[in-house]
């Protein structure tokens, strides 16, 4: 009865696929009744209204003459704001009321679950034949739906109804991500939400107060970095007279979203877990390259010398964060957001803690080049092909950016019951980070309180940064991650502009062999790498691993990935 994610979910998916195929007929007949009488009532009305609609330009937020009911399902995050009225449920969300008022679109949630449970419940309910009108799905689900032919065509809806804002966001990467949403015959099947890929760029976070205590400079080269790690582990950087610290934070997964080894590998020119363009222009798996072997031998050396935690292979992100907060470790590779969490907690626990952000150090005279993924795709708006109003999905996507405009700032507040975490589809703004950074810094330099910020979040950041400048320590996390020139995004964009990055080449859905063998190959990789670092296998084990990896499906995956790459070359 009880399934435990992983393999269980996979079998659910398999059955889901079968069920969907079997149910496709009944879907057709059941859908109109599912979307309610309001829709069918409005169908003739919109037909008669269409001639007049053609005369005037199509309004991205135009109001339907009759209510249009849109069935959806929701994975609700817990609202971050503490001002949300207690007991408010997602179907009472202020944004939905406003949406109805503005466009006459009425959202009905068939169900809502906490965000973490969404995938499970979604797959089950799809398998039992309930397909909502508008959905907000991940890339894997998108590809499955595309295969099964249950997605509605958004080409015209996007062309005619997408607001200038949404169109601008889709053009941010030259339309590359939007193009990934097209079917073989060029139909647009989804509206993607993606963010600036540079947000994945790796940097080093170091405790400056510890550097001072051990008398070292900010590391410029890998050798410098090694000296810092050594001093942090052995020279009592926290000056409490005890040997209770180690050099570099590392969690058990070498390729994760934080506190992992990506930055270390990248510094040494290694890009495991990614496909990067090789010398012959074809993509090659970073796991198999000699740079990775070199990096592993360095990590093994660090482990032997006590620069890594003895128990790193057993620590998840929470345990590593515990160590950081407790002041056991003062250096970690990572992305721009660390001050927002967990470095803010480190400062809460120890006000003396001072963090600096630096680019990856150089190695053998070559600057450390961080990996930047080709795409940073979030979720995708799709519609059921039986849904009569695909443009309603586009209007709903237009609606959220509209609500972040200044005139709604006082209305759309958590205290008024506007919970943005519950509003879907919410296409994210890929330019937000950069625009806010530039505008906030401009406003700060001229001390211009009347600055016209493009995004509501920009105005908020400006206020936070001013509070921090006036000594409010609680504002440090947001300010130092997003606004400070020497902080998270400040350093990230500096590296981006210097061009010291490597782009990964593959951004497609998992290939057939990846689906079949990817998990076991990943396990082989993780186990081998961990053993090498812990010293229970010699570094030369790597050569055998590469052979095995290639034989056990790696070669097939590489070929498939290159097929995709040939069809989708990087510009």
């Amino acid at each position: 009865m009880k399934i435990k994610s992983g393999s269980g979910l996979f079998s659910v998916l398999m059955v889901a696929a079968l069920m969907l195929a079997a149910c496709s007929n009944s879907n057709g007949s059941s859908s109109p009744s599912a979307s309610g009488p309001a829709t069918s009532a409005s169908a003739p009305a919109s037909e008669s209204a269409s001639p007049s609609a053609e005369e005037q330009p199509k309004d991205p937020l135009g109001k339907y003459p009759e209510p249009v009911t849109v069935s959806m399902v929701l994975g609700a995050r817990t609202p971050e704001s503490k001002d949300v009225p207690s007991g408010l449920t997602p179907d009472q969300n202020g944004y939905l009321k406003k949406l109805k008022e503005m466009t006459n679109i009425e959202v009905k949630y068939a169900w809502t679950v906490p965000y973490e449970q969404f995938n499970q419940k979604f797959k089950l309910s799809i398998a039992s034949g309930d397909l909502p009108d508008v959905m907000w799905v991940d890339q894997v689900t998108f590809e499955q739906f595309k295969e099964q032919g249950i997605l509605g065509d958004l080409t015209e809806a996007y062309r005619d109804y997408a607001s200038p804002t949404i169109k601008k966001w889709m053009e941010f990467d030259g339309g590359a991500t939007l193009n990934m949403m097209k079917s073989e015959d060029g139909k647009l099947l989804g509206l993607p939400s993606y963010s600036d890929a540079n947000q994945s760029l790796q940097t080093v976070w170091i405790r400056a107060d510890w550097l001072k205590n051990v008398g070292l400079e900010v590391p410029q080269t890998f050798e410098d970095l090694e000296r810092v790690a050594d001093a942090f582990a052995h020279n009592d950087p926290d000056q409490d007279g005890q040997q209770d610290t180690y050099g570099l934070a590392l969690m058990k997964s070498l390729n994760f979203w934080g506190f992992d080894a990506r930055g270390f590998f990248n510094t040494l020119g290694a890009y495991p877990y990614n496909f990067i363009p090789g010398a012959d222009g074809k993509l090659v798996a970073g796991e198999t390259l000699p740079e990775t072997k070199d990096a592993l031998s360095k990590l093994a050396d660090w482990y032997k010398r006590g620069l890594l935690d003895k128990e790193w292979a057993f620590k998840d992100e929470n345990k590593v964060v515990e160590d950081m907060i407790a002041g056991k470790v003062g250096m970690s590779f990572g992305e721009w957001w660390y001050p927002n969490w967990p470095l803010n907690l480190v400062k809460d626990n120890d006000p003396k803690a001072e963090w600096i952000n630096v680019p990856l150090p150089s190695y053998n005279g070559n600057p450390g080049k961080s990996l930047v993924p080709r795409a940073r795709l979030g979720k995708i708006v799709v519609v059921n092909k039986n849904f009569a109003h695909p443009e309603a999905a586009i209007k709903m996507a237009n609606f959220y950016p509209e609500m972040t405009k200044k005139e709604y700032n006082d209305v759309a507040t958590p205290a008024n019951g506007y919970v943005y975490e519950w509003y879907e589809p919410r296409v994210s703004n890929p330019t937000e980070m950069e625009t806010n950074y530039i505008q906030v810094n401009e406003a700060l330099k001229t001390n211009n309180d009347g600055y016209e910020f493009e995004n509501g979040s920009g105005a908020l950041l400006y206020e936070t940064a001013k509070k921090y400048a006036n000594g409010d320590q609680a504002s440090w996390g947001l300010t130092f991650s997003r606004a400070s020139e020497d902080g998270g995004w400040g350093i990230t964009r500096q590296v981006r502009d210097s061009g010291q990055i490597v782009r990964s080449g593959f951004a497609g859905p998992p290939t057939p062999t990846q689906v079949e063998k990817g998990a076991s190959l990943l396990k082989l990789t993780d186990e081998t790498f961990t053993k090498i670092i812990m010293g229970s296998a010699s570094v030369d084990e790597f050569d055998k691993y590469v052979e095995d990896w290639k034989k056990l499906g790696g070669n097939d995956i590489t070929a498939e990935v290159n097929d995709w790459y040939a069809k989708n070359p990087m510009n």
Binding site: M1, I3, A16, E116, K121, G129, W257, G258, P373
Partner: protein, 295 residues
């Protein structure tokens, strides 16, 4: 027998046995003490892993905040409803199914057929999706019945009780028949009192089962406000699945750092069932059939 007059081997056994049991007890108790200490500590102390078995920076903040959190109290009410209603239904069905099936084939002709009818479900389940569809199509989705009816009869418990009933001496039933009692009366006045240890065991299993199950709540409830307590707690402790961190994930991560609050809720969630245990305990010890009939 007083300890001193026992044989040495017996004394040794008692000492070692006590030590082993006591350490098991401590092992079981420590996590709860730790949980309680964390829930009573300041959040930053809990986050930096300073709290072991005694609160650091003592505060009731987590419990105070919890009192204002409707989700926790709502789900507690759902859980209590489920436990009371569900256990009552489960027990009634188990007893009523086990009793006739405990009779011999001569007295109940189709007994074997019925036993197989039940037993087959122990080996073959409908599977997740068909069960989900059944719940959906019967229209009990999103109601408390979706948590109770699909598992209303535990065949495993029924077989346990059935075997217990069969071990009851037949002479007792025959004597009752001679005295003019009907089957219902025999069940209520003879079998049930004699079977108290078995009933108590099954009652406890059912109770704990209902209290602890979380998966069906997540499956069948269409809104988190209908979740039983354990489903709600589960959503607190699951890790967020992140591939590339977004600004929203950052908010979620910051909330994950509310460690004291989480501990307080888990502690309160485990408390009621811990309180029930000692009260049912005494029924386990008594084997009642001993001495009821002279052979």
């Amino acid at each position: 027998m007083p300890f001193r007059r026992m044989a040495f081997s017996r004394q040794l056994f008692i000492v070692i046995n006590s030590i082993v049991l006591a350490s098991l007890f401590v092992l079981g108790l420590l996590p709860f003490i730790h949980l309680l200490s964390v829930s009573l500590s300041s959040n930053i102390a809990a986050l930096s892993n300073q709290v072991k078995l005694w609160p650091v920076g003592f505060t009731f903040e987590a419990y105070r905040f919890l009192g204002q959190k409707p989700e926790f109290l709502d789900s507690l009410v759902v859980s209590l409803q489920r436990v009371v209603l569900g256990t009552a239904i489960n027990m009634a069905l188990v007893v009523m199914a086990a009793y006739p099936l405990s009779k011999e084939v001569e007295r109940f002709r189709l007994r074997t057929l019925y036993v197989w009818f039940f037993a087959v479900t122990m080996f073959l389940g409908g599977g997740l999706i068909p069960t989900y569809i059944v719940v959906k199509e019967t229209g009990i989705m999103d109601s408390i019945w979706a948590l109770i009816l699909p598992g209303a009869l535990s065949v495993w418990h029924m077989v346990m009780l059935l075997n217990f009933f069969r071990s009851v001496p037949k002479d007792l039933e025959e004597a009752a028949i001679v005295d003019g009692a009907g089957q219902l009366k025999i069940l209520a006045r003879i079998y049930l009192p004699i079977s108290l240890p078995a009933i108590a065991t099954i009652l406890l299993f059912t109770l704990v089962g209902h209290w602890n199950s979380w998966f069906d709540g997540i499956l069948y409830m269409n809104s988190p406000s209908h979740y039983p307590l354990q489903s709600y707690l589960y959503t607190l402790v699951t890790k967020i699945n992140i591939e590339a961190i977004s600004t929203e994930d950052l908010g979620a991560l910051n909330r994950l750092s509310e460690k004291t609050l989480r501990s307080a809720q888990i502690f309160l969630g485990a408390l009621p069932i811990m309180v029930v245990y000692p009260f049912l305990q005494r029924y386990f010890i008594k084997g009642i059939t001993v001495g009821s009939v002279k052979e």
